[in-house]
């Protein structure tokens, strides 16, 4: 018989938190960065609820409820900011905003080359409508 204890939930919460941190640090898309931050919140919330169960009171659940409310606020403001940034640069790439860095920092230069754009999509073509163009008739044998 295997049973589940507090530490199992804490481990899952820690993994979600760390993966969210990796995503926030590594990804360039602004939206995915915000999603990663939300995932870190999820990991913390899981730990809170597990501790709530462990101590047999509802404090952790109440705290998680407030976290949900704050996460909703955060998402609203973050999306408004992202829309504003997108309007200014026409891209969601966060590295286009390097002038926000500290004045004594060097700009980050990409070592990796930009990936090749995908080949243009090829749609299936319909046969053109209209009368059939004249084609040279070949001699066929009717033997």
């Amino acid at each position: 018989m295997t049973s589940v204890g507090l530490e199992n939930y804490l481990i899952v919460g820690a993994i979600l938190f760390a993966l969210g941190a990796v995503g926030f640090l590594a990804r360039r898309n602004l939206i995915i960065m915000v999603l990663s931050a939300e995932m870190m919140l999820q990991g913390a919330a899981l730990s809170f609820v597990a501790f709530s169960r462990y101590h047999g009171n509802l404090r952790g659940q109440v705290f998680t409820l407030f976290m949900v409310a704050v996460a909703a606020c955060e998402a609203a403001v973050a999306l408004a900011l992202i829309l504003m940034l997108y309007r200014a640069r026409k891209s969601l790439d966060v590295s286009l905003w390097q002038e926000l860095r500290e004045p004594d920092q060097e700009p980050v230069v990409d070592e990796e080359p930009a990936p090749a754009p995908p080949p243009p999509e090829r749609w299936p073509t319909l046969t053109p409508a209209g009368p059939e163009p004249p084609q040279p008739r070949e001699e066929t044998s009717h033997v």
């Binding site: 590594a26 597990a50 709530s52």
Partner: protein
């Protein structure tokens, strides 16, 4: 004094091996460090970049990490669990790979895993256990499962991976069917309680979706994977007896936030392609930071829950409890004397151990107080000389009756001591019917306690203890609404 043993400073375990510090650190923490390193290496390989690594390598690393976790965590279940996990890995992960991959590592790794699990179950942990009928059946079933897995590998090698494309939906369906079957099988034959099966299913889904979200280059897929993470976490909330939070999180996160994110993604990226998604910022440093963070947290958890300092106490208590068990079953005074000795040493030892607050878990205070009373009850007739009793049998009864209560309470403390972090449902907080621990499995669930009382308790707490925070949260929501409108509105641009 720390209020809770969970946060108490653990004594560093005395290690017999006097090696260098790094070596001792690794010897203590390898079950944590190895899977974490492998998992984050997999994430590193999978992060989007201009020239992608073949996902096969990352899959191998992840499978190895899972295998290490299984070896350390699950012990004798290792064979079946490894077979299933490798099956899942083969089904989902390689089916996603759309370019041609070298196929030789698949049977090689599969056979290595199988051989390791076979060795483990026949000569490893399981072989040391007494061979009763259930064990033999288990071995038989395991062999059949392993045989099936071998056949599957061969089939996969010869048929599936030669194909150009294999829809990943089918792989996912097969994998889900395997997991459900295995879960039902484990519950049916009582190798695991339903809570454990559901926990591992939800936790695995959450971690897998989290990895997918971080590494997927398409933001729409990433947002959907995030929704999956939220839903799995909600399943875990249910297991933890938090139904209201489950509903609230599903509505707010999966219902509102993810949909809004998807909306913005479609608004902003109508072309569906941006070079920002195909490259990462410093993938190696980010993975390294994640490794340090996760390894630090998990090492602390490992040291807390695999704590050596409690084992000595537990062994001492076990020895005393064994003597108590013999004493409570005693029928004559010589039997009693054989069990607990002549004088008061037994009672004094017991009291000393129980009253040592540095060794006992803090939350067993009630049980310990009761145990002290009962010990006193048993000691008083034991100290009375034999000639004061009209019949020796009366003395035996007077001593053994409180000793039975001592044994029950002591066993409870012992269980608590040997399994820290145990989520036994408290009397005050009713848990979900799925969260029945094996100790409670036979008893009927308490009717009518869920979900009404839990939600009612939450509401009561919110409107009594936390009224001011609720008001502040409402104010925060208002401010966020105003702020979002103010930021997103196009100021002084006129109508367009």
């Amino acid at each position: 004094m720390n209020p809770h043993h969970l946060f108490a400073q653990a004594e560093p375990p005395a290690s017999p091996a006097d090696g260098p510090t790094l070596g001792r650190f690794f010897a203590e923490f390898w079950p944590v460090l190895v899977p974490v390193a492998l998992g984050l290496a997999a994430v590193y390989l999978l992060l989007p970049r201009a020239r992608r690594f073949p996902p096969l390598w990352a899959g191998m690393l992840a499978a190895l990490g899972v295998w290490a976790v299984g070896w350390w965590l699950i012990g004798f279940l290792i064979g079946l669990v490894e077979a299933i996990l490798f099956y899942v890995f083969v089904c989902v992960f390689l089916a996603r790979a759309q370019h041609r991959l070298p196929t030789w590592p698949i049977p090689v790794v599969g056979l290595i895993v199988l051989f390791a699990s076979w060795w483990q179950t026949h000569w490893g942990i399981l072989a040391a256990e007494p061979a009763d009928l259930g064990n033999l059946l288990w071995l038989l079933g395991l062999d059949i499962a392993l045989l099936g897995a071998v056949l599957f590998y061969l089939l996969a090698y010869f048929m599936v991976f030669q194909a150009e494309r294999f829809p990943s939906l089918w792989g996912a369906l097969l994998a889900a069917q395997a997991v459900i079957l295995a879960g039902g099988w484990l519950v049916r034959f009582e190798y695991a309680c339903p809570e454990a099966v559901l926990f591992y299913a939800f936790a695995g889904l959450a971690v897998l979706s989290a990895g997918l979200m971080v590494t997927h280059s398409d933001p729409v897929h990433a947002a959907l994977a995030f929704a999956m993470v939220v839903l799995s976490t909600c399943g875990l909330f249910l297991l933890l007896g938090a139904p209201f939070l489950t509903a609230a999180t599903v509505i707010v996160y999966a219902g509102a936030i993810v949909v809004t994110f998807l909306f913005v993604i479609m608004l902003a990226q109508q072309l569906g392609y941006s070079s920002a998604d195909q490259r990462s910022r410093e993938p190696f440093l980010a993975s390294l930071a994640g490794f340090v963070l996760l390894a630090a947290v998990l090492c602390v958890l490992h040291r807390t829950y695999d704590d050596q300092s409690h084992r000595a106490t537990a062994a001492q208590l076990r020895e005393l409890l064994d003597r108590t068990r013999k004493a409570k079953d005693a029928k004559t005074i010589p039997d009693l004397r054989a069990a607990i000795g002549e004088g008061r040493e037994f009672f004094q030892d017991f009291l000393l151990l129980i009253q040592d607050k540095t060794k006992m878990p803090a939350e067993t205070e009630d049980a310990r107080a009761k145990l002290e009373l009962e010990l006193d009850e048993a000691e008083r007739p034991w100290r009375t000389p034999d000639k004061h009793w009209s019949k020796p049998q009366e003395k035996v009864v007077a001593v053994t009756t409180p000793l039975k209560a001592v044994y029950a309470e002591g066993t409870r403390i012992y269980t608590r001591l040997t399994t820290p972090g145990r989520l036994e449902p408290g009397d005050k907080l009713p848990a979900s019917p799925f969260a029945v621990s094996p100790q409670r499995a036979g008893k009927p669930p308490e009717p009518g306690k869920l979900p009404a009382e839990n939600v009612a308790g939450l509401g009561r707490a919110l409107f009594t203890d936390y009224l001011l925070p609720v008001e502040i949260a409402g104010f925060l929501l208002l401010v966020a609404t105003v702020g979002a409108i103010a930021i997103a509105a196009r100021a002084r641009e006129g109508l367009r």
